[in-house]
Homo-oligomer: 163 residues x 2
DNA sequence: CCTGAAACTGAAAATCGTTTTCAATACGAG
DNA sequence: CTCGTATTGAAAACGATTTTCAGTTTCAGG
């Protein structure tokens, strides 16, 4: 499901950052690596904890600043949910939406949604002009669904550890 | 577009709260009134400022607490956006989605979206089971679109004051 | 009407996530 | 290698939300 490989993304991101005058520092590279390789949306603290393993002196501030840069270039996108809306995931190029597993938190991408007729009907009634739409699906992935099957007997922890 | 009238909502909310053991205090009533009558999503501080006119001694804490109660009963819903996701709007009963005007912030409700086929195709490819979906449209309402027309000459403030 | 238990209140303090400030450091074009 | 500038992390500042707490109010029951 995940369209780009982590290494592809990483290369793309590095190029994009440099092309826009950003410098490639060790701290920044560690953050990029974590985010590019993650299958799930991560918030600043989670990125911090993971990236710190590769870049010991890393500061949480730098995570925030790198996220800001990546977002400005459209390389990552925020993932909203019922609780906090402060997690980020790699953005695939082009128009796409997210599919989030409520079990493991992993994220898939999909496009090919046709909301054209819906938007027209909405616009038709009132004088409203729809400029943007925002769609997110939540469900259970194959793995988590099977894990939920084998539940009942055990108090299974369906949340997989973050790498 | 707005399905229920403000007074309908207010009555419904009061009943629901009392049915669940919540008490109807002056402070709480003021918050309810503001939210039930608002055409746009409001955050805690905006509710506080509006409700304080009717309930002078009102504390911001009570606004938070009332929002929590309303949300627990599914009477209000959070509105997400690019910036902060801390605004709330009355939730219409049943499945529906939001249409938000980026000009004035007013909110409309709509249903009748058919995402069944989309969800099936997503589910078909992987073993994913879609359990919920979440859709929000952003655009310009009739009034704000016209106001934007008459712009160009003036530096028109398209944001209408909050009641 | 009273009464009392429990829910509710607002002020203040605590806490959380994020941003700003700043002096020291590292990047990378030349 | 050199230098101008972007970047760094620590600490302080910040805004939004939550917790604590002692006094107040609601409302079911008598
Ligand atoms: Mn789409
Ligand atoms: Mn729907
Ligand atoms: Zn899963
Ligand atoms: Zn959100």
């Amino acid at each position: 499901m995940t369209a780009s490989s982590a290494e592809e993304r990483l290369a793309r991101w590095r190029t994009a950052l440099q092309a826009h005058g950003y410098r490639l520092t060790a701290a920044r590279r560690a953050v990029l690596r974590v985010l590019a390789r993650s299958e799930r949306a991560l918030d600043a603290t989670q990125i911090f904890d993971l990236a710190r393993r590769q870049a010991p002196g890393l500061g949480l501030v730098t995570v925030y600043r790198t996220l800001e840069a990546l977002q400005a270039l459209g390389l990552v996108q925020r993932v909203h949910c019922n609780t906090h809306c402060a997690s980020y995931v790699a953005a695939e190029p082009g128009h796409q939406h997210l599919l989030v597993c409520r079990g493991c938190g992993r994220v898939w991408y999909f496009g090919g949604d046709d909301l054209g007729s819906l938007m027209q009907s909405v616009a038709g009634e009132s004088g409203f002009v729809v400029e943007d739409h925002w769609l997110q699906l939540v469900g259970l992935c194959e793995a988590c669904r099977q894990a939920e099957q084998a539940e009942g007997s055990r108090s299974g922890c369906k949340e997989e550890a973050v790498k």
